[in-house]
């Protein structure tokens, strides 16, 4: 099959064509600036090709099975709430605000009255684009360029709804904010997350996505923008637990200002295929970011993460740690880059990717990289990949554990380094439970 034949199948205009876009504009009640932005993104979508399989970011991705014609954007916003979509991060958590979306459209919103009085905004992105127009206009798609690739352009043009969190200057949101995206079997989620922390603000945001059933199908094409001004502190947790029949495409960006701190925890468990482009930009001196990633795959799951930690200013620190456990014939690709701009002296950048294979047929591609244009920096990176040590299993079995218990214990220990870095206890417990559920019964 030639490349053109592959993209012919992908490039369906039946459901994501001009008529669908025109109907979307007709149905929506958007401010004029937003309609103009959508039109610009749509022009980009129409003018560029789908990602080239020879492109470095896409050459380890398998898009041939994606048929866009099987999916349709949720234009009418008629939402049937799917039953049984699990919510894992809420257990034992007292939240200050919560948003829930179904198929990319927010269906419920709540916010502590005291916080609302302090100017905190947590709500549907569509609604906030009207009610807080100037704010949303300033920040929406300020980090994600629709020209990044055709998925980004599609999402920028046709995003259905999403989550807007705004914390004003010097306001500290003590309790976590919970966001939950549910997607029904065979449905589409084109949502967008926009979080803005003004100077001195602090917040914890727990985001999770799930499907009604482990085998559920669907298409998620989303965007995440985290914007932090000086001296702000954001803890952002993202648990991706889509059904194993879902396609998951996401552009995730963060911009961290002077003396600000970002702790970003990613847990990728679900989706049949995922392609995530994650970038953190440290734009002013003293900015610090820590990204903790957990991937646990099984069957024929294929997860691709392209990460970039971009030091644009001096005296910044970035620390990326990704750990993957792979079962069956699953595959992960992690391609990490530390980029240091000219003049970003005294940079301290670290990246590491560890992979633990639980089967002979699993495959992990780990490609760390450095691009340094300053001469007084410390940048280190590393990667390890290997099987479970049989001696460890033998030792555990000699102490009375079964082989299955031994493997579960070793997997938990493998992830412990990440758990130790997560400061929120309930998140640690939820991730631990999610991981324990994934471990197969081994003979």
């Amino acid at each position: 099959m030639t490349t053109s034949a592959m993209t012919d199948k992908l490039d369906s205009t039946e459901t994501f064509g001009q008529p669908a876009f025109d109907r979307l504009l007709e149905k929506r009640i958007d401010p004029t600036w937003l309609t103009a932005k959508r039109k610009q993104a749509w022009e980009v979508f129409q003018s560029i090709d789908w990602p080239n399989p020879r492109d470095e970011n896409w050459m380890r991705s398998e898009l041939r099975g994606l048929r866009l014609s099987k999916f349709a954007p949720n234009i009418d916003e008629s939402v049937e709430i799917p039953e049984g979509t699990p919510v894992r991060l809420l257990e034992g958590v007292d939240v200050s605000a919560s948003l829930r979306s179904v198929n990319g459209v927010v269906v419920s919103e709540s916010l502590d009255e005291g916080l609302a009085g302090q100017g905190v905004v947590v709500g549907s992105l569509s609604r906030c684009a009207r009610d807080h127009s100037a704010l949303v206009e300033r920040y929406l798609h300020s980090l994600i360029c629709p020209k990044s690739d055709r998925f980004a352009a599609l999402q920028a043009a046709m995003w259905s709804d999403g989550y807007f969190v705004y914390v004003p200057r010097n306001v500290r949101v003590e309790k976590p904010i919970h966001l939950h995206a549910a997607m029904g079997d065979g449905q589409v989620d084109l949502s967008h997350t926009l979080i803005v922390l003004e100077s001195g603000a602090e917040a914890t945001v727990l985001f999770e996505s799930s499907s009604p059933d482990v085998t559920s199908k669907g298409l998620h094409c989303g965007g995440v923008e985290l914007i932090q001004h000086g001296n702000s502190h954001l803890r952002y947790v993202n648990l991706q637990d889509w059904g194993k029949g879902c396609w998951h495409f996401a552009h995730q960006r963060a911009s961290v200002g002077r003396d600000s701190q970002l702790q970003w925890t990613v847990a990728a468990m679900g989706a049949k295929f995922a392609q995530v482009d994650q970038r953190v930009e440290l734009i002013e001196p003293g900015a610090r970011s820590q990204v903790n990633g957990v991937m646990f795959t099984q069957d024929r799951q294929h997860l691709v993460y392209n990460t970039l930690q971009h030091h644009k200013a001096p005296h910044c620190t970035s620390d990326f740690l990704y750990k993957s456990v792979l079962q069956d014939r699953s595959r992960t690709v992690w391609r990490g880059m530390i980029k240091v701009s000219e003049g970003a002296q005294k940079t301290d950048g670290y990246q590491r990717n560890d992979n633990l294979m639980l089967s002979d047929a699993a495959r992990a591609d780990s490609i760390p990289g450095l691009e340094i244009n300053a001469d007084d920096v410390r940048c280190t990176h590393g990667s390890t990949s290997g099987r479970v040590d049989e001696e460890l299993i033998f030792y555990a079995q000699s102490r009375g554990f079964t082989r299955s218990e031994a493997i579960r214990m070793i997997v938990t220990g493998f992830f412990q380094q990440i758990f130790d870095r997560i400061t929120i206890q309930t998140v640690r417990e939820a991730l631990g439970a999610a991981i324990a559920r994934q471990v197969r019964q081994y003979e």
């Binding site: 099959m1 399989p53 050459m59 380890r60 041939r64 099975g65 024929r300 047929a361 003979e443």
Partner: protein, 110 residues
């Protein structure tokens, strides 16, 4: 106790006369991609995946009974899936082909 092993089901792929000698063709079966090749009047089927870098083999050229990966030159024997040339060191899965009434059926192994 181990469950009894069951034979994977056969999937209809295409009419027999669609596969021509020494011309690899790619098909999608049950969310997986495979390459069908006719060598010496026998149709063979292997996974459309180079075990070196996980890329596709379908655009590759035939060298005797071997399919050559178009990116780095690894070779796989289409009759067995065996990797016969570096940089691939692991075999790619080989699938069972059945021809019945002029139609090709494939059962996906492992």
């Amino acid at each position: 106790m181990k469950e009894p092993t069951t034979m994977p089901p056969f999937h209809y792929v295409c009419p027999r006369d669609q596969i021509r000698p020494n011309e690899p063709q790619t098909f999608e079966i049950d969310d997986r991609f495979v390459v069908l090749v006719e060598i010496d009047q026998v149709v063979h089927c292997i996974e459309d995946m180079c075990t070196h870098d996980g890329g596709t083999l379908g655009d590759g050229q035939l060298d005797g009974a071997c399919l050559v990966c178009p990116r780095h030159g690894a070779k796989f024997d289409v009759r067995t899936g065996k990797a016969v040339c570096m940089p691939a060191t692991e075999d790619t899965p080989s699938h069972t082909v059945k021809i019945d009434a002029g139609k090709i059926y494939v059962a996906l192994n492992n």
